[in-house]
Symmetry: C2
């Protein structure tokens, strides 16, 4: 493919993308292929000589597309949204254009400096405490700052690594022992999360080889101060070292919010690192009316949210802030780096060797898609997007309540509505779980919208997450229709069968 063919094919690709978005709602949002469908359609070996490009495009349309679950459909309400947007797609294109590998400043000064800048933009957009920003109000370098990670899982893992480093250094100086001796106690280190925390916390603890306590959440699905204190007391009696606690701002299951000020109190007393996982709901902080819910975040050691969930930037794009980077960079920097010498950090906030702030060494120029998206939308555009989704979620909640057959099983604060058929509506089934399982199956069979089920308080619940930029009231009304029609079918089929 020469440059003129690229010019032609690239523009054709833009048309294909635009056509896709124009018609994506016409497809069922979830793919309905059988496992192994693709293996039957494509050869077991790559072609010896070049395939025709027309064939590749035709294959994409006829073989790949049927196996796509359309996260960008307005009728996709499963999990959390995988939010994309046109400016983000264009930003990605320019990121591919430069294709720089930005492990240090010299690799492309613009890549590092734009990232530092847009992460400060984002921090201010969310109203984060100034100490999280890279550059303080006088233009000087702060102790930490923001960085783009690939995912909230990596951010949590990195926070845990920094937390361990901090605790090791503390033990070294308190007990006057060597680093090696201190790290030999690592298996006695304990991280604390709730049963509503994302499972990536356990993954992180497994990777480090530390212990983790999954503390039961309260009736509002929150990790509370009392429960945390009780567990820590027990662990300290058996000579364990509490070192890390994760508070969630908007859990995956119900978007509940942990008792963040309470966790911050305990973290302070116990010298633990407090990480806030706001993967989904962090985006809402762009709207000041949500910030009251986020009290305590200003006392955290690290904070993370995904732009690729609810802030219009496509995967991968997780925004992490860390109040003081020294523990993380100490833990991650290898002494020996002959070839890939670090650019001198000095006091210049614009120079940062990003590879010491993340798991991978190389990194893409992801700041570009954030920059495009934030500028094309502006603060007002981002806020409007968030508020629209929240209003639609409130509308859905109200309609479900008015219908009379449903109960809302968790407060609707952001874009997520968790609901089920209530006891009365389910009475013919004998079991409320059976009724809701039946309802869920009928909604999936209908196929016009896609939601997922979950367990809340050990009972089945259905979960509709509104958040795609392409979801309009029309889509949400369709969602409501499918839910209520399926409920009617479920109840009547059970009564008459």
């Amino acid at each position: 493919m020469d440059i003129e063919e690229f010019r032609r094919r690239g523009k054709e690709a833009v048309d294909i993308i635009a056509d896709y978005y124009q018609s994506v709602d016409n497809h069922p949002p979830v793919a309905s292929v059988n496992p192994g469908y693709l293996q039957k359609l494509i050869p077991r070996e790559m072609p010896q000589t070049p395939d025709s490009y027309d064939d590749i495009i035709a294959d994409m349309q006829s073989k790949i597309s049927p196996g796509i679950t359309h996260w960008q459909s307005g009728n996709f309400f499963a999990w959390f949204p995988g939010c994309s947007s046109y400016p983000s797609i264009i930003g990605e294109m320019f990121s591919s254009m430069y294709s720089v590998i930005g492990f240090n400043w010299l690799c492309s000064p613009a890549a590092t400096e734009l990232e530092v800048a847009v992460m400060d933009w984002l921090g201010k957009l969310l109203g984060l405490d100034n100490r999280f920003l890279s550059i303080d109000e006088h233009g000087r370098k702060n102790r930490g700052g923001g960085i783009i990670q690939g995912s909230a899982s990596e951010a949590l893992l990195l926070a845990m690594i920094a937390a361990r480093e901090r605790k090791i250094q503390e033990i070294c100086s308190q007990d006057n022992i060597s680093y090696h001796e201190a790290i030999s106690k690592q298996y006695l280190f304990v991280a604390y999360v709730s049963d509503q925390t994302h499972s990536c916390a356990e993954k992180a603890a497994n990777i480090l080889g530390v212990q983790i306590r999954i503390i039961p959440s309260d009736n509002n699905f929150r990790l509370t101060k009392d429960a945390l204190v009780a567990q820590i007391s027990q662990d300290k009696r058996s000579y364990h070292y509490p070192f890390f606690v994760c508070g969630t701002f908007g859990t995956t299951n119900t978007t509940s919010i942990d008792d963040l000020p309470g966790l911050a109190d305990v973290a302070e007393v116990e010298h633990m690192w407090l990480h806030i996982d706001a993967a989904y709901a962090g985006a809402a902080l762009a709207c000041p009316e949500f910030r009251e819910l986020a009290q305590g975040i200003e006392r955290a050691h690290s904070f993370d949210f995904n732009l690729n969930k609810w802030m219009l930037v496509n995967l991968d794009c997780s925004a992490m802030w860390i109040f003081d980077s020294k523990f993380l960079t100490k833990a991650l920097s290898a002494g020996r780096n002959i070839l890939y010498r670090d650019s001198l950090e000095k006091e210049n906030p614009a120079v940062r060797n990003m590879h010491n702030w993340q798991i991978p060494f190389s990194r893409r120029f992801r700041a570009l898609k954030i920059w495009f998206t934030l500028r094309v939308y502006g603060v007002v555009g981002i806020q409007t997007h968030i508020r629209n989704q929240v209003n639609m979620a409130q509308w859905l909640k109200t309609q479900l309540i008015l219908d009379g057959r449903f109960e809302i099983v968790a407060p609707v604060v952001f874009g997520l509505v968790v609901f089920r058929l209530n006891e009365k509506a389910a009475s013919a089934f004998g079991s409320i779980d059976l009724a809701n399982s039946c309802l869920y199956q009928l909604i999936q069979q209908d196929g016009r919208v896609f939601i997922v089920s979950t367990m809340v308080n050990n009972r089945l619940a259905l979960r509709a997450a509104i958040g795609s930029v392409f979801s309009t009231m029309e889509n949400v009304k369709l969602l409501f229709d499918v839910i209520t029609e399926s409920a009617t079918d479920a109840i009547s089929s059970h009564i008459y069968n």
Copy 2:
């Protein structure tokens, strides 16, 4: 930005990209801005209301581009190439189009199934042992398979995690102790690498909290069996547990190749995991003439190479194969996964819950850009690309030798030429390092090409990596001219000053 504006702006973006590639060689390959240059050019806060899109594009051209180090320039010979290509860029565009978040099969069956398929294509292209493939010759599921990771660093970390899990299970059953007891010995676990291994190995050991031995390489920059055995014996005498060794196929510094069959012998005897890091040179295995150098790889437990270095696919795209995934998935899967239920893996090789094979939870649809690139090039096209680069490296090596003033400090096997002014040419300087430091500075000042320096056997050396798809003989001739002209200037300035 509505869909019609996206259509227009997207096509405009394709033209900007094509124009960029058409003229990239006209820019100095390395950015010459000062630290902090961008902070002075862009506002400290994001815009309240949308910025004009024309302004954004103008800012990109006038503010971002000057801070770009042009990895895609034909005159970029620094580090290793950050190889991109037109079909890869288009593949990325379609990946942005779908914007699926593929943590399990249902998230988009095509994303998982295409990845399984192209990783098998790639495995066969490289001539990897069948046991690395996902699907065996009878179409049945193998014990492991290939997966796309974000970077070779992550692949090495994952290999180390799997290796630790394997050793823990071994200790549990041998010593009849609990998992918890076994993991309390983790600080006595030892990983082995050479002083030429990428520093990400130390990063991985730091993350796990295990020990690592940096074994001196031999005169050919190789980790040898004898050196490894000697170090292990010493560690075992002090009750340590050898559990992991990394062999490199093509080190970053000189593209040396460790004694892989020797390492495989030791790994077998000591029950250690053998990981092969072929980040750069692995791509050469597409050409059968290089496979003799790779003996021993067939006995490894895991293998990784970066398509984004030398196989025409842009970052991020690291291809990892693992012969048996059970240790990795055991270590990484969290018990509690209410909401993001795994699709049933069963015996179907097409169904795989990718999040248990990697650090992040979410993942992009990266198989698409591999699929586009491999089909557009075909086996023959990939081989031609590799052989062209190798031939150009051989040409450069020969010219430098014929010049008479240079020595080649490491065998030129792939696309990398490591050289320095020889003793005779440097004689006027009194120190060969001083001479080469002067040469290096003049080449950087000249600015027409970009190479980096390194230390080989404790002496300064210069390092030219040929590998961009956009580097032609013309670019390599320019490289040679800049080197020789700078050498003349260095020597004459030193003689006459």
